[in-house]
């Protein structure tokens, strides 16, 4: 047996392993962060991925009052009629995502990061769980 065949057996076994992992990996589960808001008011129609707003990331840096008081975000997923023009004009997300306080709008796909077709929702909310049972289409946990 020489190095080449050792190398080959490793390669094959690793390949089989990876394949087994790929098959075994639990796919299609929805288990993103509690409070992640998906906004898909216009994105799908415009050929962009829907937006995911991570509440957890923002609440570490800002208190609720900043967005929900000062910036006028209503407590409703998809209820704020946000569009890119408003953001560029400094409204809603654009109050901070302006290249001064936080990175600016040229980083499209950091926000527009959801799987295409993901509906507007507050992810993992109690209401979502009540409407979609655990073995339902929305939150399938098999």
């Amino acid at each position: 047996m020489n190095y080449l065949s050792i190398h080959k057996s490793f390669l094959i076994a690793t390949g089989v392993l990876l394949l087994a992992l790929a098959v075994a990996w639990p796919g299609g589960q929805l288990r993103a962060e509690f409070g992640d808001v998906v906004i898909n008011n216009y994105s799908d129609e415009a050929g962009m991925r829907p937006v995911i707003f991570p509440h957890w990331f923002h609440r570490i840096r800002y208190r609720c009052k900043v967005c929900h008081g000062d910036l006028g975000f209503k407590f409703e997923a998809g209820g704020n009629d946000i569009n890119m023009l408003k953001i560029i004009d400094g409204e809603f997300c654009g109050a901070c995502h302006n290249g001064e306080i936080a990175w600016a709008v040229e980083n499209c796909d950091v926000c527009h990061s959801a799987r295409p077709g993901t509906p507007t929702q507050v992810h993992e909310s109690t209401l979502q769980k009540l409407i979609a049972p655990v073995d339902g289409a929305q939150g399938s946990k098999e």
Binding site: M1, N2, Y3, S5, S9, F10, A13, V16, L17, A20, L21, A24, Q29, L30, R31, A32, E33, F34, G35, D36, R49, I52, P54, H55, W56, F57, R59, I60, R61, Y62, R63, C64, K65, V66, H68, G69, D70, L71, F75, C96, E100, I101, N107, C108, D109, V110, C111, H112, S113, A114, R115, V122, H123, S125, T126, L127, L130, V134, K141, E142
Partner: protein, 191 residues
């Protein structure tokens, strides 16, 4: 070490054993064991997954790779059994996080009101103690008053059904704040 010490079958055997383990694991992941513990619960090891694996972020999207992993972010924060598995109130109290109270002013401090409202509840559950203190750390009075809660004793009828449906306390609790499964955090005053 020279090449004569290599036993080519050894790595293959090790990998085969590994493969068997993986297959078994895969079988249990597929729900082959009908009597598995906590069948419908997400195990601890799968909570707070990285964005690319969370099921709603698109792993094909370049920007997804740039996003912070929640597990890494939460590693030093106090734990909680539900929601993000983080006790945000305690994190703020401990100073583990220092969220701004103004968009671009690190120095701005919240106007905190220390007033508990006791709500006597029907049935056998302990009364609800609503602490303004913890809420005004995060929120402005106008976030709740008067649109969601009329600032007057006895003026707000609240039921658990309403909360579950995302009204009253449920506008935040069960969406971004701890959900109703943590009964005792609100129902805390014994009768």
């Amino acid at each position: 070490m020279n090449s004569s010490h290599f036993r080519p079958w050894l790595p293959v055997c090790i990998l085969a054993v590994l493969l068997m383990g993986v297959t078994q694991w895969a079988a249990s992941a597929e729900g082959k064991n009908p009597n598995a513990f906590n069948r419908l619960m997400t195990p601890m090891s799968e909570r707070n997954p990285p964005p690319a694996e969370d099921g709603i972020h698109d792993p094909e999207n370049f920007g997804t790779e740039l996003l912070q992993h929640p597990r890494e972010s939460f590693s030093n924060l106090p734990k909680s059994p539900s929601g993000n598995n983080v006790n945000w109130t305690k994190a703020l109290e401990n100073g583990d996080i220092a969220p701004r109270y103004h968009r671009d002013d690190d120095e701005a401090t919240p106007i905190v009101m220390d007033l508990n409202i006791v709500r006597e509840v029907k049935g056998s559950m302990p009364n609800v103690v609503y602490p303004h203190k913890q809420h005004t750390e995060w929120l402005d009075c106008s976030n709740c008053h008067p649109a969601i809660f009329i600032p007057q004793k006895g003026a707000n009828q609240i039921s658990m059904a309403q909360i579950l449906l995302g009204e009253a306390c449920g506008i935040c609790h069960g969406k971004v704040a701890f959900p109703v499964s943590e009964c005792r955090r609100c129902h805390s005053q014994s009768k």
